[in-house]
Amino acid sequence: MSYSNNAVKVFTVDPLNWQPWVETVDVKALTPAQIDVLSEAPGGLEKIGPYYALLAHDPEVLRERTRLFNAVMYGRGGLPRRERELASVAGSRVNGCTYCASVHGRIYNDLTKRTDVIQRIFTEGVDAQLEPRERAVVDFSVALTRSPERVTADDLQPLRDAGLSEAEILDLIHVVAMFAWANRLLQTLGHPTRDEVVLV
């Protein structure tokens, strides 16, 4: 296995590929349920990436998970989109998911038209200096990612002080929970790489 040679372990906003460790479904012989769920995936049926081609082994679970992800990240109102992306990057930084951090760091940079926030989190870590509201969002994301059993009402006070409503805090909890899920799939069923992906 070429894992130790080409896995990307340094955080970057460069686009990365993802090499599955498990054989994917045969995209030329999809079942009706797999066609349905993959047509909802980014890129649709024309451009099925290795991640979705792997998760399509269980189309029922993938369908619910894809819709949940979209509701958590793109649901209208509530926590601003850029802060959902920031929380996802913070969680991914803690878990070491360079693939997720790359994708969502780029989205954050596109939304905010700045690159310094993500760059600092990548190079200095989640304790890097940030503006107060970003600091509160990142601190809570780190705490809930790392030690959910230790999170209490006290951990929410900095978010409330920074002006987040109860609904925005629930949105933030959903994003951190979603990336506990996403990071684990990306990190335990394959690895990020700059090389071409070989489907097994």
Binding site: M1, Y3, W21, V22, E23, L54, L55, H57, D58, E60, V61, L62, R63, E64, R65, R67, L68, N70, A71, V72, G75, G78, N95, G96, C97, L144, T145, P148, E149, V151, T152, A153, D154, D155, L156, E166, A167, I169, L170, D171, I173, H174, V176, A177, M178, A180, W181, A182, N183, R184, L185, Q187, T188, L189
Partner: protein
């Protein structure tokens, strides 16, 4: 086929102890898509349809174990009750709670070792873990379902912790 979310009691509300008149229940209900698709995820993972060699008892044993190592009492109780209702082997249930994976059949023991590792520290996973799952009898389809199940439980643990804090827990 689509899931009829309305026929099921909402699992997360139940685990968080939220009643319909509670402010937190209403806060969750306002994010109706998140609530429905989270419930749909739970139903597809714990009430699978179609072919699978990754059985419902094995899935609840994983749920029980994740509840134990994340110290989530509500999650532990849920899976204990489900395993009891399904007639699961009481000695196996006890072994899972104690983390005595060596006393269990090879396949579920491998799944539990994988679950313990990635629940605690996902960066520690490696292709060797996948090879071990395959050697113990997991096919590709069931490895994907197992990965989804464990990762879903990590979502649930964090949602419940967040809701507890929002409810004022010190």
């Amino acid at each position: 086929m689509s899931i009829n979310h309305n026929n099921n009691t909402d699992v997360a509300d139940g685990l968080a102890g939220l009643q319909q008149d509670a402010a937190l229940w209403q806060l969750r209900a306002a994010r109706v898509d998140v609530k429905n698709f989270l419930q749909g995820s739970d139903v597809t993972l714990f009430e699978p349809i179609g072919r699978t060699e990754f059985g419902v008892i094995e899935r609840h044993l994983i749920g029980l174990r994740v509840g134990v190592i994340t110290r989530s009492d509500a999650i532990v109780e849920r899976h204990r009750a489900a395993l009891n209702a399904l007639g699961a082997d009481a000695a196996q249930v006890q072994a899972v709670e104690a983390g005595a994976h060596g006393e269990l059949p090879k396949k579920i023991a491998a799944a539990l070792r994988f679950s313990d590792k990635i629940t605690r520290e996902p960066r520690d996973a490696s292709p060797e873990d996948i090879a071990e799952l395959k050697a113990s009898g997991f096919v590709a389809q069931d490895i994907v379902t197992l990965g989804q199940l464990i990762s879903y439980l990590s979502f649930q643990v964090r949602l419940l912790a967040g809701l507890r804090a929002l409810g004022g827990a010190k």
